[in-house]
């Protein structure tokens, strides 16, 4: 698996408020953002976030490299949010995000708003590469990716874990804005632990011949998964959501829903069931009513 350059991982203690970016990541794009109308040229951006362990054993967000449109802001001692500073991604954009969680540190990564994928010249790509060290904890819970009509997008996630890493990784895809036919998206997710595969899966949204198949998405308008390192004791299934203990270790919560709110509640229910069942420390903290076990 090719891993994009990480750059130096300095252990600079950051000013804690949600201030500006500490460093700007490599940005090879030609164009610039011009506001929210989606009329801009394709961009290449490579952002990165990395933690390190301070001498007194605390997590330090040691590297925070934004690269518009991927802007990262630290919002807590070990919390970082992705803030979009340009529309998109747009067709032609090549965006990459590197996440490095050093052994025995914690990172929570979210986003302030959903990502709206728009059409443009060619295919857009979002590549997220995450390494989670031994005994480290990562929660990745961004807002959904919405596929606007006509977009062509690739979403690639490579998650490499070391033993005893603890992860909750949520991914939500919404098939178009309200009443809109979705563009096309190909998503691939690979997670390995110490090199051994835990989960590999990919799917395509936006092929009209397949989307509505009762074998694929049926009547759903959203698809979501959460990968957890916690292993649920048994498979569970409720309306539109299944908690699937994986063969090696870990759990996949897989959900289909009519809208993003329903999807989130189904995933959270599954995350909670998997964590309560399992023995992992990235237990979901919130409370939701179950989506109705059948």
């Amino acid at each position: 698996m090719p891993s994009p350059p990480t750059g130096p991982t300095g252990s600079i203690a950051l000013p804690e408020p949600a201030g500006g970016d500490v460093r700007t990541g490599e940005r090879a794009g030609r164009g610039t953002a011009d506001g929210g109308l989606g009329r801009r040229r394709a961009m290449r951006a490579h952002a990165a976030v990395a933690t390190s362990l301070s001498v007194d054993g605390r997590t330090v967000v040691g590297r925070l490299a934004s690269a518009p449109p991927l802007t990262l802001r630290q919002t807590g001692p070990y919390t970082v949010h992705l803030v979009s500073t340009a529309a998109g991604p747009l067709g032609g954009d090549r965006l990459a995000l590197d996440v490095d969680v050093a052994p025995r540190t914690t990172l929570e990564l979210g986003s302030v708003a959903s990502t709206l994928v728009l059409p443009g010249e060619g295919e857009s790509e979002m590549l997220i590469t995450a390494r989670v060290g031994a005994g480290a904890t990562l929660r990745f819970t961004p807002e959904p990716t919405v596929l606007a009509a006509g977009c062509r997008h690739r979403l690639i996630v490579r998650l490499a874990l070391e033993p005893d890493a603890s992860v909750l990784w949520r991914e939500e895809i919404v098939f178009g804005r309200y009443g809109e036919e979705p563009g096309r998206c190909h998503a691939r997710f690979d997670a390995t632990c110490a090199g051994r595969p835990l989960i590999r899966q990919e799917f395509t949204v936006g092929d009209p011949a397949l989307d509505t198949s009762p074998a694929v998405f049926g009547a759903a308008r959203c698809v979501g998964t959460t990968f957890l390192t916690a292993t649920a004791k048994e498979a569970l299934v409720a309306d539109g959501v299944a908690v699937l203990p994986l063969a090696a270790s870990g759990t996949l919560v897989s959900a289909l829903a009519g809208d993003a709110v329903e999807l989130r509640s189904r995933l959270k229910w599954g995350e909670k069931a998997a964590s309560v069942d399992g023995d992992d420390c990235v237990a979901y903290g919130g409370r939701t009513g179950g989506p109705g076990i059948q």
């Binding site: 990919e202 074998a215 698809v223 059948q294």
Partner: protein, 265 residues
């Protein structure tokens, strides 16, 4: 085409396939599949997700079988050592030696596991694989089937199918074709039984899928050969496709928990 492929793909091959509906029984129970057009949508989705995945994995297994020198040294440990040091460029490990003594079948089987999130589907796949392996060893006795049975006694179905096809003399691409066909023929037959559909209409449906079958098999074979271009290179099975179908996962688990069922899966 090797005539043995006809035997492998025949639904009358006594390998237990008749008792699996591939999610159709639950889809019928929920009303999602209720007539020939809805069955057609189901089968199309299944073929291009689970079917395409099975085809790629089957082709990979057949390719592995054709590249596996028959080692008369049987005594490598069979238990325990399942932690795979993955083969990609990473040259870090080193010490143990680049190509580990570990069975290629265990590695490939791990890759199937990682691509089958639903436990019910893993179990159905292993049951069918085990039954097929049993039949194949009697029908097409070969050392590669024995080797597979020794290292992975209940292999995932695509692995058993790929190796059986190889033992029967079929090519990896033909094996992929058998896998793609298997992915829809069983569910189609199950729908005929469950819904009392006109069997001729359903066979017409299967016939209409033949161009898709060819395309799926060709893509699957391309994926397998890209991952394992030559016998002297370490296979990069991690690069194989990993198509998933969320609805099939849900159906599989619903079926496993259902009280009344006619089919195993």
């Amino acid at each position: 085409m090797n005539p043995a492929l006809l035997l492998i793909a025949d639904s009358r091959l006594p390998a237990g396939g008749h008792a699996h509906s591939g999610g159709v029984e639950r889809a019928v129970a929920s009303g999602a599949v209720h007539d020939v057009p809805s069955l057609s949508r189901f089968l199309r989705g299944r073929l291009h997700t689970a079917g395409a995945l099975a085809a790629a994995l089957t082709s990979a297994a057949a390719l592995q079988a054709s590249c596996t020198p028959i080692s008369p040294a049987p005594d490598t440990t069979e238990a325990g050592t399942r932690d795979v040091t993955e083969a990609p460029p990473a040259t870090e490990g080193g010490a143990e030696g680049g190509d580990d003594r570990e069975s290629p079948w265990v590695r490939l089987d791990d890759e199937v596991d990682a691509r089958t999130a639903a436990p019910a589907q893993r179990e159905a796949s292993r049951t069918q694989g085990r039954l097929l392996l049993r039949v194949a060893r009697r029908v097409w006795p070969s050392s590669v089937l024995d080797e597979l049975a020794r290292t992975v006694p209940d292999p995932h179905h695509p692995i058993a199918l790929g190796v059986a096809a190889h033992a029967a003399g079929a090519t990896p691409e033909e094996a992929a074709l058998a896998a793609a066909y298997h992915a829809i023929s069983g569910p189609a037959t199950a729908a005929v039984r469950l819904l009392g559909l006109d069997p001729v209409a359903v066979h017409a449906l299967l016939a209409a899928f033949t161009p898709d079958l060819t395309a799926v098999a060709a893509q699957a074979h391309f994926a397998a050969t890209s991952a394992y271009p030559a016998p002297h290179l370490a296979p990069r099975w991690e690069a194989l496709p990993a198509y998933s179908a969320p609805a099939l996962d849900l159906l599989a688990e619903q079926h496993a928990q259902a009280e009344i069922r006619l089919f195993v899966s």
